[in-house]
Symmetry: C2
Subunit: 498 residues, 2 copies
């Protein structure tokens, strides 16, 4: 097997089962030993690029050579997102059920741009999106329901990233307003909303001057009164509010915009209310974490990423529209029907063609992984997964609250804990917190990312985000993370004292 | 194992190796038996949706149950893109090296939005994109080259689909022209260009009135004189030509726009010339198929899909920019830098952060599959793969030319053969060709899609596209396809005679 070369079109090698076994073994070995590695790669810019040959090989190389380079060149230059001490950004969950489904997806090699190009690819997606909508408590109007494609409900779709769903929602919103001159269209998100709003505006040609950053209240949630005022001001100036993004669980600190209050304001303005719950949406599988969903009936569209915190490998960003009219607006904004894609099923109107639900035409069979995850963990398993991380965050919150040297910059949000040092002996809180972060980066055992929380100063508050949610993280890892935070601070104290 | 239920965060099951073995075996069985199935699923709308439970399971289900449903519910409702008689659309190649890499990608579960979030994920992509650029004959200015991230060359990136790269190129083009009022921006493609130009224009807010469909010459390639005239007319009316998409290998008939002539016209107009070689680009690994690349130095960006015809599983759409100035234009159009993504590596300017090269923020480690494919087939293997399909198409072309009942509607293009019946005993060519298509669909042994070729009539010429490129297709399958085309026509003759 080691000297095998593939003849022209021998795409399905007889060695595949054995090779898949080798890859599966490597994956198990990787996860079993992940804790022995520093979380973040120590590779310098250019290391991997320079280690790889300058040209593709002329003739086929044996699989073993490739696998050897995976171990020698690739793995050492990974940042280990599945490491239990990876508490940076937001998590990107991976699980073996999702891996198995991804393998199956690759194995089938079908492409689901139209219903006709693989009915199962479309209809499994419709069904699991209905399952998931129900599981997180979205109202019935977001689901296809028993009527399937002919539903008066909206229905859901899998996209690649939350950024892409924001773009899709914004384009649908703009289309719903008609016209070709978009220079008067205005979009709104809080000052804490995700950068994808600005990026979507750039992509879809809405001037940066017409992207509103709505001020927040002290908990960093959008201030509804400020939104109302901005909308009124824009309207009186002849501009058209088309799109408001409310965030449930902001990237920076996990703040929740009050959609119950925002909803009626947006509805009155005739704009499209999009809910970005990219991270927090996974937690809504637990009823006790759904308080922020009050007012969801005002939303035109809703997004969250099972690839963040619901055990489903990247990419899996789920997006729903509320009711058939919103579904129509989305499809009208996206659909183009060239002759070479025409077919009887599409023209019957009895099917969903997902190519009209997003920017890409082609699409992978991503529903498989969501289906495998939902079945192999079960709703109860997913809830336990979420709750375990929230409990760890509660424990960490208690440690910080009991320690005079540090403080919570913002209240804990689900499993996100925002921590900073307090000022100490002439060193400012920001100096100390930055130095802690530098120490932790140098140390390598714990990976955190930071944010800057507005505090009325020009500089803001430098804050360490502890984002719990990697599946391998256990309570003792969080205890270790807390020890490392304390160790970092002690070291910073002694350095700044010296 | 069969009764295993996953406790909360046990994302990496000890049964994974065994389960991966079962999936690999299922994939091998699927491919081994694929030829016994009709190419297209006979599922009716709602069949799969209705066969699935209405709710997600409350508790974990054993893997075996899921796998059983894959066999009973999913597989019968697939359209088999890897079936040797799948000659519709364009192919979507799958191969076991790419499957292994996709499994590994899922296994690592890393997310490559920034260089820092996994250096290997970024730098392997930079390197294999350089490999591939060289392999298809793109000039050096499209590659990173030895200088890597600091290159004066452009460099490449993997995106999901050609549609997304068209959008990225159009947004970069618009950004390069500055300003916030885009109502005067005009984009151009031939009447035969892909629908993604129109869709991208819709997405990025360019009025449909400002999307020009440039007439073609008799071979359905863009007419450069007509382009020049349209550009001049738009300019004299105060509009701004920002983007021209030239297609190498159109979706409908595989026509090649003459970029050697178009290039200087676009350059003179200061617009961005994007090359869409989504399908044909794979063939450029063979020097003898590169004639249409003459003039490529005028291009600002270039795209093709290894997931179509280069043995790399969907999704893998490769996109290059020509020179550092175009790279800067793309990045300037796409980048947004919130605090929570700031890091030292990015700020050093010594690394590439691919999130700024496209709409999505998060990204999978897709470079792995391109790397596995390039190494495990080798350049020679990929060339043989392409040549084998072109040879099959030449054989089919010869059969059609030797048969008085049918004709080539357009000259064969690489491995795409466009065939129609000739008029016969009072039945028009279109009636007969449509009826042949209906017969083939009913029969189920051969899957073709159609197009309508402009022929001066309002109706146009109904044409069957035989798109050879599925890896399992061998010469005898094409012989069988030819027999089926003849059988279809005989049946149509006898029916219309009766």
């Amino acid at each position: 097997m080691s000297t095998e070369s593939f003849p022209a079109a021998n795409a399905i090698s007889e060695c595949f089962e054995a090779q898949a076994g080798q890859v599966a073994a490597l994956i198990m070995k990787y996860h079993a030993s992940i804790e022995q590695r520093p979380v973040m790669s120590s590779a310098a810019p250019g290391d991997v690029f320079g280690a790889l040959p300058q040209h593709a090989p002329e003739t086929a190389e044996p699989f073993e050579n490739v696998l050897r380079d995976v171990e020698c060149i690739i793995i050492p230059a990974l940042t280990h997102w599945q490491h239990p001490m990876f508490l940076g950004y937001f998590p990107a969950n991976a699980s073996t059920p999702a891996m198995l489904a991804d393998l199956l997806c690759a194995g089938f090699g079908v492409q689901g741009m139209l219903w006709q190009t693989s009915p199962a690819c479309t209809e499994l997606e419709m069904r699991v999106l209905d399952w998931l909508a129900k599981l997180i408590g979205l109202p019935e109007s977001f689901r296809f329901g028993a009527a399937g494609a002919s539903s008066t409900g909206g229905g859901g779709v899998i996209q690649g990233t939350a950024s892409e769903t924001t773009l899709a929602a914004m384009v649908a919103a703009r289309y719903a307003h008609g016209g070709t001159d978009h220079s008067h269209c205005v979009v709104y998100g809080s000052t804490q909303a995700h950068s994808s709003i600005e990026k979507s505006a750039k992509l879809c040609g809405i001037a940066q001057d017409n992207v509103r950053h709505v001020p927040t209240t002290e908990n960093l949630a959008m201030n509804p009164a400020a939104l109302q005022e901005m909308i009124a001001h824009d309207q009186s100036a002849g501009r058209v509010p088309i799109f408001v993004c409310a965030t449930l669980g902001t990237t920076s600190t996990g703040a929740f915009d009050p959609i119950g209050t925002i909803g009626p304001i947006v509805t009155a303005s005739n704009a499209w209310l999009h809910i970005d719950a990219a991270w927090a949406g996974s937690a809504f599988v637990c009823e006790e974490f759904r308080g922020s969903m009050r007012g969801i009936e005002h939303a035109a569209s809703f997004n969250f990423n099972p690839h963040k915190w619901l055990l489903t490998n990247f990419d899996c960003s789920t997006f729903w529209v509320n009711g058939a009219a919103r579904r129509k607006a989305l499809i009208d904004a996206m659909s183009i029907a060239p002759e070479y894609l025409r077919n009887a099923a599409t023209e019957s109107g009895e099917v969903v063609d997902y190519r009209d639900w997003h920017a890409p035409l082609g699409r992978r069979f991503r529903a498989l992984k969501l289906w495998f995850v939902l079945r192999m963990f079960g709703a109860a398993g997913l809830r336990a997964h979420i709750r375990s991380h929230v409990e760890m965050a509660q424990w960490l919150e208690a440690q910080v609250n009991a320690d005079e040297r540090m403080e919570l910059v913002m209240p804990r949000s689900l499993a996100l804990v925002c921590i900073a040092a307090r000022a100490h002996r002439g060193n400012s809180a920001n100096e100390l917190t930055r130095a802690m972060h530098d120490w932790l980066r140098e140390d390598g055992r714990l990976f955190l990312t930071h944010t800057v929380v507005p505090d009325g100063t020009p500089e803001g508050r430098y804050t360490l985000r502890v984002a719990i949610g990697t599946p391998s993280t256990r309570q003792f890892h969080i205890a270790k993370a807390w020890d490392l935070l304390c160790e970092a601070l002690e070291n910073v104290y002694s350095t700044s004292a010296g």
